[in-house]
Symmetry: C2
Subunit: 203 residues, 2 copies
DNA sequence: CATTTTGTCTAACAATTGTTAGGCAAAAAT
DNA sequence: ATTTTTGCCTAACAATTGTTAGACAAAATG
């Protein structure tokens, strides 16, 4: 091969691209940027991938699959609603913190997917939300959760867990477990059924 | 003037741009796209604005100013911590729902600001977060809120209110007031001091 | 050893980008 | 009535974009 054998893999390309997509966004990251990050020429990328869109596609659907199989697992094994929700949140936080670059792209850049992929993607995202909704419903049936607006609760929870992507850094002093625990505690406060009213009302 | 006198205003440009920036992102929206949305030629835009960056600048800082003056007002007038937080959330939701396009840009596209503006922007955003943190601190001092992780509570709250931008549509069946009320109720559950333990633990 | 495959390269392309220059007619100011 | 200003236009620019074609040498395969 050319005097430079770098043997870049598709995985490396996706990783480097994810890092750039997170920093500058999909549209503002050029193929030449991605190539430069890997010390190769832009044209060489096409030996490994079909086109730029494929990279975004891979990132978005890989992550979607991760999230979906995690929640499927939680819903399969039996836990009561609170345990289920806590596990679901934990897995979610784990997936995000394991790869902040790719999850940033999953959370923000999916809008740049080509139309057909976008439709599929939104289906998956909806499916994920529905699994969470089911957990909340369980909790209400089990009389453990207050009869809250389900859709609302799910969106509040998901937005909270997703937001960690904005400030989490691997070298920080909190791990996924601690983060998940704190979020769960906070969220559970808003969900749990209260037999006796809060201090606020007692006073 | 040329047989076409359209008298486009800077405000119209910003509005049309915001709509596009929300849909396709800043980088993927061209000056020609913006111009086409206003039925003029791209070059004509430069009669009203300095360059593309200025549009993003205006949107981001206009919104930041709105948010900051709203919370300043809340913190000026005396309310107890819970009232303050509820008012702050209400104003936040109002600002978002009043202009979903511009607030989407404020929430997502600020990353594309040129470096110097970006630094200023982040300062304002931090300032806003700090005002919220002060409210939580007040609540803890007043012994109305649980001694939660302040930073965490603020980020959870803000992520929840910001998320409404993703699904809110003006023609939907919820107004800003109802949305703010629901979020506040949910959030307050996680914050309020609990004298007697929850039903869950009583059982 | 001969051949094919693999992974890079250079060079080039057509399209699109943000932006500027200069023209021209209507409206406003003198 | 004349001049200036305003708000648009067409045309063009240099740079950058995603992508393709084709060469070439190392590695793998026969």
């Amino acid at each position: 091969m050319g005097e430079n054998i770098k043997n870049i893999s598709k995985t490396q390309i996706v990783l480097a691209a994810a890092k750039l997509f997170k920093q500058k966004g999909y549209a503002a990251s050029s193929m030449r940027d991605i190539a430069a990050a890997l010390n190769i020429e832009a044209a060489s990328l096409y030996h490994h991938i079909k086109n730029k869109e494929e990279i975004l596609d891979i990132i978005c659907f890989d992550m979607a699959t991760k999230f979906l199989s995690a929640i499927a697992e939680v819903n399969d094994i039996y836990f009561n609603a609170e345990e289920k929700l806590r596990k679901a949140i934990l897995h979610h936080v784990e997936i995000i913190t394991e790869d902040i670059d790719k999850s940033a792209v999953f959370l923000r850049e999916w809008r740049s997917l080509p139309e057909s992929a976008l439709a599929d993607f939104l289906l998956l995202r909806n499916q994920y939300e529905n699994e969470f909704t089911r957990i909340i419903e369980n909790g209400i049936e089990e009389d453990v959760f207050d009869n809250v607006d389900k859709k609302f609760a799910v969106l509040s929870i998901l937005s909270s867990v997703n937001w960690i992507n904005e400030w989490y850094s691997a070298d920080g002093n909190m791990n996924a477990n601690e983060i998940a625990h704190k979020i769960s505690d906070f969220v559970m406060g808003g969900l749990r059924k209260k037999l006796v009213t809060d201090a606020h009302y007692k006073a």
